[in-house]
């Protein structure tokens, strides 16, 4: 993505400047937080909590929790690639579980929108617990651009005041 391009979300690029829970109730319920955003990418964190366990014996988080974290990071990455914010909708996600996530650890996901078309955006993402280059999950996703009649939930985030209202 060219550095001189216009980005609707440019005002919030950099280390986390907005509370995702204010825009996405379920992300707030899971206490997810935005670590960093930039041109066409987003890094999110999910703090460890007992409620996220999917396998009581191994105490690892439920696979779908990773889907939620990656879907959220991917949606923000697409918004961070747009010149003007419009509503988006997930078309599909393929999550590969490379290994078990370490129990009782904060989890991270980084998503990158590597192609923003007129109708469809393509995203790749990884999730890790310790080192970004040792991911426990990988993902490919596609998103529909301009879905439905609603606006983007991030439209107030992209304003220069960062949606502080």
């Amino acid at each position: 993505m060219a550095a001189d391009r216009k980005y609707a979300m440019r005002a919030v690029f950099g280390p986390a400047k907005f509370d995702i829970g204010r825009f996405t109730p379920h992300a707030g319920r899971l206490r997810m937080r935005v670590v960093e955003t930039g041109p066409g990418f987003a890094v999110l964190a999910l703090p460890w909590h007992e409620e996220l366990i999917g396998d009581p014996q191994r105490r690892v988080v439920f696979g779908g929790v990773i889907t939620t974290l990656i879907d959220q990071a991917s949606g923000i990455a697409v918004a961070c690639a747009m010149e003007e914010l419009v509503a988006i909708a997930t078309i599909d996600l393929r999550v590969d579980y490379l290994r078990a996530a370490a129990p009782e650890r904060e989890l991270f996901a980084r998503a990158e929108c590597y192609k923003l078309g007129h109708n469809v955006a393509f995203v790749r993402a990884t999730a890790w617990d310790d080192e970004p280059d040792d991911p426990f999950a990988g993902c490919l996703g596609t998103f529909m651009i301009g879905s439905g009649s609603g606006g983007s939930p991030f439209s107030s985030v992209g304003r220069p005041d960062g949606g502080s209202q």
Binding site: G28, D55, F62, G63, G64
Partner: protein, 128 residues
Amino acid sequence: MNRLVAAIPYARLLGIDVEETRTGTECLLPFRPDLIGNTGLPAIHGGVIGSFLEMTAIVRLLAESGLANVPRPITFTIDYLRSAGPRETRACAEIFKLGRRISHVRAIAWQDARERPVAAANGKFLMG
């Protein structure tokens, strides 16, 4: 099966239930405002729908295999067909192959009518 779902903390957080119906086992996701992903529509979070489908696949695998341990997903692909509105969602799963090592499962979720699914998933799981 409800006991099993109750033993999985994230299934409890989502509020998933299992029901035996005329046509087989169905999973049930009652609506709650904190499941919303997009407040504009509003629509249930894509990750919640994905988790619900994954849980439905796991419930089916456990019932068919008799295993005590939760099968581990290898890869899970979700197609989002319609936005999932603020109401109850149901899902069922079908096993294409129940293997000793790997099983293949497909799951679909719907709201108003089973013929109008909101999402469909295809997953491969490591057994045991």
